[in-house]
Amino acid sequence: MKYLKVSNWGYSAQRIFIICAFSIIPLALLFTFAYLPVINMFKYSFTDWNGYSKRFDYVGFENYTRIFSDPEYFKVFIVSLYYFVATFLQMGLALYFATILSFKVRGKNFFKGILFFPYLLNGVAIGFIFLFFFKPDGTLDMLMHAVGLGQYTQLWLGNPNIINVSLAGASVWRYMGFNFIIFLGAISSIPKDVYEASDIDGANRWQQFRHIILPSITRILQLNLILAISGAISAFDIPYIMTDGSNGSMTFVIQTVHLAFKYGKLGLASAMAVVLLMIVILVTLVQRVTMKGEE
């Protein structure tokens, strides 16, 4: 009877009980919506299921051999390079703004809001905004005419050599706020007295950045880099909404979605998703190994 009251338990038993009680819901959600689908995805990748039929057959590694024997499926990674390059631009900009706004600036919070805002917007809305932005005689062209650069206007989405730059640009605009906030948080955790000491020693802003800020946020920088690179490999939302992968903007994930839902090859698409997962894990591991060398 006495054990029915939690307050009669020992401290450590209470502690374990509380921890379990608090984490059971998030873990259940995590399992249901993340791990279970992934486990199923592995299962489907060995079948020829079309996504809705009540029957499917196990086909062994056929889907995988198909992916690795047909270069068509891997060609699209060339497009990821655009997003990969854009990633560094995005990180650079985020770090630059985060550093500036961590010092005393007028209208600091206003600028923080402005920079972070795009990340809060819905991806579909952003897709539509940028469709209008890049349209012939759209916002961008009008801007360029207004400042006298009218002769340099292009078909931003119509020209296959530029389309991925345009889309990657939209992507940078959207996700930079996220990197920026993380950097800002990391930079704010640096104690103030370090800056004061460096001020007394006569360090300028650049030296403060180089010798105080950068070393203090290396970890975060690495994390952001991993996130950004796997983001580049699996670029999806902006190109999917804006161009649906047409005109040379096809990415690996759009191709996977098309296979699953246009051609009813859910098994093959699952196999592609597994391959993508492996690639991302591989990239992460490689990065961890190279970072180990620095420690």
Partner: protein, 437 residues
């Protein structure tokens, strides 16, 4: 702590990349094929009707429900309109919850239909009453009845043709290109608007295949047995050549990647666009945007065939969920909708599936054109075209290769029209060999 970081990182990665999740398929079985009561005492309760018509779900459909309630006062009809109808319904079909009455998604293989839908009657019972019910038939049971019988071709603005100096309506591809050229030279209108960005609008071209072939047999009877589906001189090659030539000669919109479907309807109505390749379902929508609806006309797709055949095809088929909890009411709704709503003519821009339906007035000038439904596939070849299509990832009813053709036409791709057609034909031959082993 440091050790843990690696794991956390991996788990995070797993989380981020596990976005592509599919639902598990739970098979539900119920007593399909039992006699459904038509006794009016049994017709009560609630039903849910899924529709693709997001534009009229809150207006016209509400009126239908009110009319229906005059006959069956005890039934409450709820509507759900889905914007991406195909995609969303297919995903919902892995559960039991996909409405009581719905449009059968076109991409569900015919053989799988009995798993999901309730038979509406035998072919022998219904064949004298409705047209084009062969399409969704399995073992003599009919699972879907067309909501609208539509026809496909070119929808054009008569005023623009007049201003451009097009005196005679173009019949062949050459005449059609010449007419587009006149529009370009003499007016400000876009000669042929492709609606490239929307994607689905490009799939409308495939409906014109029988017109180009000049026969109602080509699609289901000849096509699955040919290895020359995209070879020069064959219907597919000739059909998309029209699109390619228009793109190549600058007779389409300036930047295809930024087209917009909603405004294109208004532009065609106002005379800013001369032609679009669409189905008849679009006619009423376009006419509704102008004060001079008589300016909107219909042309059979340009063809060199000796006989002009305009295919009548079924728009979405209405069907019943096999898991429906209220089959008598669902059946009553389907029968009422087909017989009394007049949806096909007023909202669908076509004709009723009823055998005695009249052709709409916009077609009065085409007395010498043959309007007929397609011949169904031979015994044992039902749905074979779709199978080859999916296996080869060709996408006859997908926008992908149409987009390639336009991109090649405007010079965005290095491949020529013949390269694209050869590629498609190779895929076709390979997939067909795979399936007819």
């Amino acid at each position: 702590m440091r050790k843990n970081k690696g794991w956390m990182m991996l788990l995070t990665m797993l989380l981020i990349t596990s976005l592509l999740a599919a639902c598990s398929s739970g098979g539900g079985s119920s007593q399909a094929g039992e006699e459904i009561s038509t006794d009016s005492a049994d017709i009560k309760g609630e039903i849910t009707v899924l529709t693709q018509r997001t534009d009229i779900v809150d207006t016209v459909f509400k009126d239908y429900a009110a009319e229906f309630n005059k006959e069956y006062p005890d039934v409450k009809v709820n509507f759900q309109a889905l914007a991406d109808y195909e995609g969303q319904v297919k995903i919902r079909m892995s559960t039991k919850d996909y409405g009581d009455v719905l449009m059968i998604p076109t991409s569900v293989p015919i053989a799988d239909i009995p798993d999901f839908f309730e038979p509406l009657g035998t072919y022998d019972e219904l064949k004298d009453k409705y047209t084009a019910i062969e399409e969704r038939m399995v073992d003599g049971q009919v699972y879907g009845i067309p909501t609208v019988i539509t026809f496909s071709g070119i929808i054009y603005n008569k005023q623009v043709f007049k201003d451009a100096g097009v005196t005679e309506l173009p019949k062949t591809p050459e005449q059609f290109q010449a007419a587009l050229q006149l529009v370009k030279d003499n007016t400000d209108a876009v000669p042929l608007y492709t609606n490239y960005a929307s994607g689905w609008a490009l799939t409308q071209w495939e409906s014109d295949l029988p017109t180009v072939a000049g026969s109602v047999d080509y699609v289901n009877v000849d096509q699955p047995n040919t290895d020359e589906n995209f070879v020069p001189g064959q219907p597919h090659y000739e059909l998309y050549k029209v699109l390619y030539d228009a793109a190549k000669n600058g007779l389409i919109e300036k930047d295809p990647t930024t087209t917009d479907w909603e405004s294109s309807k208004a532009d065609l109505a106002k005379g800013k666009i001369a032609t679009m390749a669409l189905g008849s379902w679009a006619i009423t929508q376009i006419q509704g945007m102008t004060d001079t609806p008589d300016d909107i006309g219909f042309l059979p797709f340009p063809t060199n065939a000796s006989e002009v055949v305009v295919p009548l095809s079924a728009d979405y088929n209405i069907g019943m969920n096999v898991n429906s909890e209220n089959k008598p009411a669902a059946k009553a709704w389907i029968d009422w909708f087909l017989a009394k709503s007049n949806y096909a003519v007023e909202q669908g821009g076509g004709m009723d599936a009823d055998k005695n339906a009249e052709l709409p007035p916009i077609l009065d000038q085409y007395k010498d054109v043959q309007f007929s439904t397609l011949t169904p596939a031979k015994e044992g070849q039902e749905g074979l075209v779709d199978k080859i299509d999916n296996e080869g990832e060709i996408g006859l009813w997908q926008p992908d290769f149409k987009k390639r053709i336009i991109e090649a036409g405007i010079g965005n791709r290095k491949e020529s029209y013949d390269d694209i057609m050869k590629d498609l034909n190779d895929k076709w031959v390979k997939a067909r060999a795979e399936l007819t082993k």
